[in-house]
Amino acid sequence: MAYVAVKGGQEAIGESLKRLEYERLKKGRTIETRAIESGLQGLIDQVMSEASLYDEALAALAIKQAQGNPEEVVFLLRAFRSTLPRKYYSRTVESHEMALTRRISASFKDIPGGQILGASPDYSHRLIDFDLKREEADPFIPKRWLKAYLKEIEENEVWETPLKYPKVMDYLRREGLMATYEADETEPEDVTKEALKFPSKRSQRLQILTRGQTGAVTALGYASLRGYGSVHPTVGELRVGELPITIDPPFSEETGEEEAYYIGSIRVTEVESIIPRAVKTPSGDYEEELDLGYGICYGQNETKAIAMSILDRCLEEPGEAPTHDEEFVLYHVDSVEATGFISHLKLPHYVTFQSKLDSVRKTKKGGETQ
């Protein structure tokens, strides 16, 4: 019966879609995808990360279509992704291969290679810059700025060594202040292929967190900091840079790094948070030990990566707070799942709601006669 009502809405739906298009076009200007790509990097990074699909041009097109609504953009990208074949798995990317564009530590002032601020709004005044309106009237303003900056680069000496530095944490490991781990070669689980079951594997947790909705991951990480969890970290190292992606040759026996195909690089934010933990010694005393929380995401999205590192650590250790409950965290941070489920409440529930109304009426009536 519910379908009858939906069928009758066909014309109305057609007109509604026209209204949507009208809303996009009514101010007489459309935004070029290239303008989105050059001017909305932050949004592109966020949606690529939440969609778990890296492609700036595609993200820009989806942003245009969804009129900048991130949840719709992520839905479009995930839907598109599902139509494509997964051709290959990359060779394991090691993060020390990252070519850095930014790298800071909140734990140590002096780190080998130094604190490189790179590009970040952290050091800006965060006052609205009304001068930006001027460049719309005079396109030569940004052009002149860019030309001068590029000239500065052109006049630089050539810095031969790639900006690839060892991890700050490795020094603490060498001092024995932090647990060391052997490389674990276990192949990861893939949450896009197999449904999540509890207790979850570490690879599943990291995959779900890295593709989690920025706001959700941030909110839960923040909740843990405020007391709904036992994790309070110091950022050991935060890196932004380019990771090279390679695949093994699919048609030959030759393997190994040198015979791999380089397919391009991706920009990521990676965070290692240091988290102190009290450990009981055999003699019954407690000793402070340092643990690491790991966070990473596509693009430059530092808040999300730090929040992920908190949640990673929360889920590695037992705790009473909800942020230590893997079901609570992992089932609720995905953008498509969360927004999809909330949105479904808008769908017709006429029949089910009618039966609910009937039962309320019956109870009321029953109550009156008694």
Binding site: S52, L53, Y54, D55, A57, R81, L84, R86, K87, Y88, S90, T92, V93, E94, S95, L100, K109, G114, Q115, I116, L117, G118, E152, I153, N156, E157, V158, W159, E160, P162, L163, Y181, E182, D184, T186, P188, D190, R202, S203, Q204, L206, Q207, T210, R211, I245, P249, P250, F251, E259, A260, Y261, Y262, I263, G264, I266, V268, D291, L292, G293, I296
Partner: protein, 144 residues
């Protein structure tokens, strides 16, 4: 010239150069397209640094093309939607896999391009390093 090094340079080279290199091969050899350039995904496998375990970071959109040069297969694959570039890369790859007469010359030109890219990257690195905090200056300022 090993494939990893070669493909890294080519991925960053302008399309014009890729076309020229590809044409250099096609002018003397018959190239058959085995798989037209098409889109697909590569799943990125990553090792995290807290416990050194592996996990999947996410997928990357790629364009892939396969060609045959005689009996030798050539694969062109790169991040993004770039059909022509994928084709050129496949032809160049086939040329190296088959080791034809032109391979040496191709390698020389790719090497040259590699030097150009490294120089540009080196200048960019220097610019990034200008954002490095100089704590000695900072300490002096605090003392003053």
């Amino acid at each position: 010239m090993k494939r990893r090094h070669r493909t890294e340079i080519l991925a960053q080279s302008p399309t014009k150069l890729l076309r020229e290199l590809s044409e250099q091969v096609e002018n003397h050899h018959a190239v058959k397209v085995l798989e037209e350039p098409n889109s697909g995904l590569v799943m990125v496998k990553m090792r995290e640094t807290a416990m050194k375990s592996k996990f999947y970071l996410g997928e990357v959109l790629v364009t892939e093309c396969k060609v045959l040069l005689g009996d030798t297969l050539g694969l062109g694959i790169l991040r993004g939607s770039h059909k022509k570039r994928a084709y050129y890369l496949a032809v160049i790859d086939a040329a190296f896999n088959a080791v034809i007469e032109e391979s040496q010359e191709l390698a020389e030109r790719i090497k040259e391009e590699g030097v150009r890219i490294q120089t540009a990257l080196g200048r960019e690195r220097q610019q990034i390093l200008k954002t490095k905090v100089d704590f000695e200056t900072l300490d002096e300022e605090v003392k003053a």
